[in-house]
Symmetry: C2
Subunit: 291 residues, 2 copies
């Protein structure tokens, strides 16, 4: 089993020992309830580093007052087994008191990007994310930290924060892992009933439909978005929050196909809120067209 | 002369060379217009470290719209000479574009402490300070960073930020350096006319009066504060913003003498705003009383 530590002092002692051996450190911050998506992050870290740290911390400050903090799945034993199988050497499981001791009052905010998309629907979410990720990154100071593309806006905010604050850590974004039918893996998928699970396919189906149409040369984005939104609204149990095509760098809406576009979707399926996304490549920007 | 660098890449190249030699790194962030107070910080860094980095950057984001950013003194040649004489080995002079490149949008805030005292009079000041200091500290990642006690609330915010975000840097606060008549050294003292300079003595005189009265056993803080505030209001050209006795840890007002108290004063002298402070030790907490 990987070594498990709770305090920052114990974490740093382990990291100092690894550094003293000249080891390169990779870091995978998680909220636990781990699945094959997290495993792929730990495996990527394992391939590129000697010492692989995973953290497990359900961060209260990124949940809104009406969100699922208290019922968010906690599956520590299974998480540790997954970490071991995927190649983690060290698992850090801080308590809320370790992360937010009495008197704690410092926050980190990425101003513009945090106000868009998810930020509109979850107004305090990203402030909680960037603050806790900054703490986690500074506790470890890895060579590389790994995040999933599934949370597209999150990884963009973290990249922006790290760049703006001159944090000497490389951020790697790893491809979304999906079920056979396309559903993006998420710790929240376990909330879905059987019929909700069926309906949840509609999110990735909408993304892939748009991806394929744009790859085939479709240049009218607005009717395309309207079409998939209508399909989502028509899917039983699905209530879309948004489906949009934006710049992958600024998250600003794009009106005509170009490079670096991403389609983003958020929807409630029953009472469970899911998000997903897909990078879009129009034919003139595809590797074939460019070569 | 010390080596002067502008870009973060050049800075990090120099620091990597020092680290490769096993050198310990001390850091003194400044806004230039250096005086003997800054020299004392560089000298402290020199005593405790092998490589001493001073930065010179007049940070626009910590000035309010009606404040003195554009006329803040810039004295680079004299600053470099002072850095050399005090023992700096590396001077970093980033431009605004280095610190805030296009797209920059991340801020660091210390929430409660930033709202008090100076924060009431300069609402966006500390957000600018903590954001730029975080950037400076992460660009250098020194073993120790040195700040002056003259900006008491600032050093407390920086300590709080570093503690809350788990930044592995030790913060040292160095005693205020004063003119013979007690005036705390400040880059803004050069704005004072001859008569204003005379009146500016009243700030430190008020602090020392309170310090001496409390050391002599005075326990009634409110009349004491009222007395010195009346004296400040009666001083020609002086307009006090506040004179207050607070906890040195929380900046909350204290009503009876105890350990860890500080008296803080802010006042305009003519059109120049000055601040100063003094730690207070009641007789039962003095070294003699405790021994």
């Amino acid at each position: 089993m990987p070594t498990v530590v709770t305090t920052i002092e114990a974490l740093r002692e382990q990291l100092a020992a690894a550094r003293a051996l000249g080891q390169r450190v990779g870091f995978v911050p998680t909220m636990g309830a781990l699945h094959a998506g997290h495993a792929s992050l730990v495996e990527a870290a394992r391939r590129e580093n000697d010492c692989v740290v995973a953290s497990i911390f359900v961060n209260p400050t990124q949940f809104g007052p009406s969100e699922d903090f208290s019922r968010y799945p906690r599956t520590l034993e299974a998480d540790l087994a997954l970490c071991e199988a995927a190649g983690a050497t060290l698992v850090w499981t801080p308590t809320v008191d370790v992360m937010y001791p009495p008197g704690d009052q410092t926050i980190v905010e990425v101003e513009q990007l945090a106000r868009l998309l998810e930020g509109r629907h979850r107004p305090t979410h990203f402030r909680g994310v960037t603050t806790v990720v900054m703490k986690l990154l500074l506790a470890v100071i890895p060579d590389v930290a790994y995040f999933g593309q599934k949370d597209f806006q999150q990884q963009l905010l973290i990249r922006t924060m790290v760049r703006d604050l001159f944090l000497p850590v490389r951020i790697e974004t790893c491809a979304t892992v999906r079920e056979v039918d396309g559903l993006a893996l998420s710790s929240r998928n376990r909330y879905l009933s059987g019929v909700e699970r069926e309906s949840a396919r509609s999110l990735s189906q909408a993304l892939f439909f748009v991806r394929d149409r744009i790859a085939a040369g479709e240049r009218q984005l607005e009717p395309l978005v309207n079409e998939v939104l209508a399909r989502l609204w028509a899917t039983p149990l699905v209530t879309p929050d948004y489906f949009t095509i934006v710049s992958a760098n600024t998250l600003e809406p794009v009106t005509a196909p170009g490079p670096d576009m991403v389609a983003l979707v958020a929807a409630r399926v029953g009472s469970t809120r899911l998000i997903d996304n897909c990078l879009l490549v129009p034919p003139e920007n595809s590797p074939t067209a460019r070569s």
